[in-house]
């Protein structure tokens, strides 16, 4: 084939330009560490990369949600544990005071300690979290108190003694709100299959409950020591105990039994909270390992194999240098050089 002079030059230039382009592309890949830097680098991988990134982000958010849920639950756990201690002490006092060896005076002075326990317990039952939300009021988190004074039923008590009622109970009077008996706040800790939270959700595997109703924690199932119509919560049993002691009377055995039942109820609740915390932990562990798998997949899709990248760079670099050398040789080749 006949070769024209400008072909030498255009050939050399296009070879150099081509190698320069390859070197630049590899340079970008190596410096970003990524094989796919924009959708056109691999359009199919792009949508996978986007969806993997989304999943990783969701998992991170679920983990954050789990951390938040755990902090709420451990606060609830602490409050209930303190309540158990207080009720335990009240029960000891109640059993002690049943003993005939104590005088009315002794009982009245014990009533003072029970009074302290009542204050302590009712403050635990009305405790709030860092956001100022009531912990034991169901979703009525911004009510004034979860357990309010039940004036109507307190008429028969000694002066200074008052029964309390949960705001979800009709005894709560003006503070009564039926909503306090329903619903719960669920926090998402995993992927939801149907992407739907319902108004009366009982929770599914993807969500963990972080609020509880005061009635389900502090009410005593089948309480027998309280007068009819009184809200059957623990603090009321303590009020009943104090009222009995204030009168210098022996507390009834039913009080001790009810307190025991209350402790059991709280222990059950604690176990349930522990269960939820375990779920959060195991979900977090599962998410972590899932996240690692996904990140590995993501890395396979978009990251550059460095060894390959460097090898490619060297290869292309050599090619570029060769093209440049060829050019310098070729441009010296002319018949005119020999015509002297």
């Amino acid at each position: 084939m006949r070769v024209s002079t400008s072909q030498f030059y255009s050939q050399s230039y296009s070879a150099i330009a081509k190698h320069q382009n390859s070197v630049m592309q590899i340079q970008e890949q190596i410096s970003s560490g990524k094989r796919v830097n924009r959708p056109s680098d691999d359009p199919v991988a792009t949508s996978q990369i986007n969806s993997l990134n989304k999943t990783i982000d969701s998992l991170a958010q679920f983990k954050k949600n789990g951390d938040y849920a755990r902090s709420q639950l451990s606060l609830e756990e602490t409050q209930i544990t303190s309540a158990v201690d207080a009720v335990q002490r009240a029960r000891e006092l109640s059993l002690q005071m049943m003993n005939d060896t104590y005088s009315a005076k002794d009982r009245q002075s014990t009533a003072k300690e029970v009074g302290q326990l009542i204050d302590h317990l009712s403050s635990l039952m009305n405790s709030t979290n860092s956001e100022g939300e009531l912990i034991f009021a169901g979703n009525n988190v911004n009510a004034n108190e979860a357990f309010v004074v039940d004036a109507a039923n307190s008429a028969g008590l000694q002066p200074g003694n008052q029964f309390l009622a949960y705001i979800g109970s009709a005894n709560a009077g003006a503070a009564y709100d039926v909503q306090a008996n329903y619903g719960a706040r669920f926090v998402q800790i995993g992927f939801d299959a149907n992407h739907k939270a319902n108004a009366d959700d009982k929770g599914d595997a993807s969500r963990v409950r972080i609020t509880d109703k005061g009635s389900s924690v502090f009410n005593i199932p089948g309480a027998t020591s309280l007068p009819a119509g009184v809200d059957p919560n623990l603090v009321n049993v303590l009020v009943q105990l104090k009222d009995t002691l204030d009168q210098g009377l022996q507390p009834s055995a039913a009080i001790g039994d009810d307190l025991q039942a209350g402790i059991k109820q709280m222990a059950k609740q604690l176990a349930e909270i522990g269960g939820r915390q375990n779920r959060i932990d195991s979900q977090a562990t599962a998410s972590d390992s899932y996240s690692i798998t996904i990140k590995e997949r993501l890395s396979n899709l978009q990251d550059l194999d460095m060894v390959k990248g460097i090898t490619d760079l060297t290869t292309k670099q050599n090619a570029l240098q060769a093209a440049q050398q060829v050019f310098s040789k070729v441009q010296g080749m002319s018949l005119f050089n020999y015509l002297k």
Binding site: T5, R38, P43, D57, Q61, V141, H195, A197, D201, L335
Partner: protein
């Protein structure tokens, strides 16, 4: 009859001419479009000399270009293709970087918004987490605002580019027209080919092919006719130059430059006729990349706006009031064609998102709800939400052209489809749902539109510039959902009146966070949505990537084709300095030898004269 002296002097002339041609080749070794020339040396007419046939020496009969028509034609076509993909690549890479960069793009902002929803669901009474939702919505708005500005700039840029390319093409056509005239004139005057003029014309045609795809047809008189649009539209024939005209599209406010041509005495819009060259690149890029990606991104955003707003309507805010709009709902008017004969300017034609819920059970009014317009039961309200969500699934990445038909009704077409059947026909004075959007013609007064009037609607591009976060008060964020109180104790909440749950409830916000994973967009044939909002974004991103990648592949292929053909041209018509060096030596020696003939002739003559002394 040639004697020695004549032969010798002819031969020196011949070789001097040959050396001239050689020198001219050497001088033009790097002239663009130069075709090497060759001196055609022929032996002269022979005559009888003393009864013998002897040659009459040599002369240069013509100076020819070493040239092949078919290679030049192929080169012109290859050049058009190469320039097209070259230009298309640089334009599309620019948009790719804007709409679908892998880091920090729209997707990051969407994800941040959904994360903020999760945060508010965890802690619905905290002002900080509520504020976070508002902040993230505003961030998304800012991001999209910037992007929309860049995309509008890109549209302006393509308009400018089309105008300036049109000017370039017209200039080239004028100069080819002049060259044609001169070539024809020389051709008629004498036999010798006007090599330099032909080279110049070839070069001008090459340059023209860089801008637009052309086909050339040589005429008998030496002129060249030029056609474009796959040979359909004459640009240069005989004495006629048909210039391209760049002007606004018929929808004057669309901010879109189209190309017009006078074809058969009629002004025609020919933008869709150009395949290659830079002009073809800009036009293809505009339709298949810029418009398409904006429409697809718009579907995603319309899905986000409608999906978020309607879920928000389900809930109740801090004060127990029903949720209002989070984002400004889509509502746009049509653009009227400047060719319309009716006075309607499009402002009475509206497109918005209004799912067909009026006939549904328990319907009391369009959301956002007031206590009076709340549906009859919670179940009805949920059904209405589901209806709205399935309507979102009908969105298509389309632009719509409305044409008033002979019956005075509205035919709605997919603007970019060649199909002549409308997507739907909406009777005069009514509204209808098309592709999930409500096309409302109810406000158009009688007699203000006439048959053939056209209107343009681009709802999915509109949302890019109209996207606005309208919820500014964190207290107005509807975090809580329906009250879980089962008043008639039948273990079913669906028959309850719509009423808010307690303030600590997070069900509605949890459902808004669920939108991140809920499939809402692009329903399949059986009506099941196939993509989440983020998937919708990915779809756009992938198709943008596909376009760029396709262009890249085409460019590489066309560059190779061009290189191969241009190698063929060079191989045939390019100047080789080595060859010219050899020719130079050859002709120089021949010249010297011819001079020697004259010398010999003289010495023969001297000998003859000397013998007579």
């Amino acid at each position: 009859m040639a004697d020695l002296l004549t032969i010798g002097s002819n031969a020196t002339n011949t070789f001097q001419r040959a050396i001239q041609v050689t020198s001219n080749n050497v001088a033009n070794v790097s002239t663009d479009g130069y075709t090497r020339q060759r001196a055609d040396i022929t032996s002269n007419y022979a005559g009888y000399l003393g009864g013998l046939m002897t040659g009459g020496g040599s002369s240069v009969s013509s100076v020819q270009r070493v040239y092949a028509d078919y290679i030049q034609n192929q080169l012109v076509t290859a050049n058009s293709l190469k320039s097209r993909y070259d230009e298309q690549l640089s334009l599309s890479k620019q948009v790719e970087g804007v709409v679908s960069s892998n880091d920090g793009g729209v997707q990051t902002y969407l994800q941040n918004l959904f994360d903020a929803f999760q945060g508010a669901a965890n802690n619905p009474t905290s002002t900080a987490s509520r504020q976070q939702v508002i902040d993230q919505s505003t961030n998304l708005q800012t991001m999209l605002g910037n992007m929309s500005t860049v995309l509008t700039d890109t549209q302006n840029q393509t308009n400018k580019q089309i105008s300036s390319l049109t000017d370039e093409i017209n200039n080239r056509l004028d100069s080819i027209y002049q060259l044609n005239k001169e070539v024809a004139k020389t051709q008629t005057n004498g036999g010798q080919p006007p090599n330099e003029l032909l080279d110049q014309r070839d070069q001008a045609i090459m340059e023209l092919s860089k801008f637009v795809d052309i086909k050339t047809f040589p005429q008998d008189d030496g002129q060249v006719s030029i056609y474009t649009g796959n040979g359909k539209f004459p640009m240069l024939t005989g004495n006629t130059v048909t210039h391209l005209q760049a002007a606004r599209s018929e929808f004057t406010n669309e901010n879109r430059t189209e190309i017009y041509m006078d074809v058969g005495g009629e002004r025609k819009m020919v933008s869709d006729q150009f395949q290659h060259g830079q002009l073809g690149a800009v036009l293809d890029f505009r339709t298949n990349m810029l418009d398409k990606s904006m429409d697809q991104l718009g579907v995603t955003l319309n899905g986000l706006v409608a999906g978020t707003n309607w879920q928000h309507y389900q809930g109740y805010d801090i004060n127990g009031d029903a949720g209002q709009n989070v984002f400004k709902p889509l509502n746009m008017n049509a653009l009227a064609s400047s060719n319309n004969t009716g006075p309607e300017d499009g402002s009475n034609i509206a497109v918005n998102f209004t799912p067909a819920i009026t006939a549904m059970a328990g319907y009391n009014g369009q959301p956002p709800y007031t206590p009076a317009t709340q549906p009859a039961t919670y179940g009805d309200k949920e059904a209405i939400l589901n209806k709205a969500n399935s309507t979102i699934g009908d969105f298509q990445a389309r632009e719509y052209e409305v044409r008033v038909n002979a019956a005075g009704n509205y035919d709605v077409y997919d603007r970019n489809s060649a199909s002549s059947t409308p997507l739907a026909t909406v009777p005069f004075g009514t509204a209808a749902e098309i592709d999930g959007l409500n096309f409302d013609f109810t406000s158009v007064a009688a007699g203000t539109v006439s048959t053939g009037d056209k209107f343009l609607l681009k709802p999915h591009q509109q949302i890019l510039s109209d996207f606005q976060s309208v919820l500014t008060d964190p207290d107005k964020l509807a975090t809580r959902g329906q009250s879980p109180n089962d008043t008639n104790a039948n273990n079913n909440l669906l028959d309850e009146l719509p009423s808010p749950a307690a303030i600590g409830d997070n069900v509605n916000m949890a459902n808004m966070a669920n939108l991140a994973d809920k499939k809402l967009l692009y329903s399949d044939a059986s009506g099941n949505p196939s993509m989440t909002i983020l998937d919708g974004y990915s779809k756009m991103s992938s198709s943008v990537g596909g376009y760029v990648q396709g262009t890249q592949t085409q460019l590489t292929a066309q560059e190779n084709v061009f290189k191969q053909i241009s190698d063929r041209r060079e191989s045939m018509s390019g100047v080789s300095l080595d060859e010219e060096a050899a020719n130079l030596v050859k002709y120089q020696q021949a010249y010297q030898a011819s001079a020697q003939i004259i010398q010999t002739s003289q010495s023969l003559f001297q000998t003859l004269i000397g013998s007579m002394r």
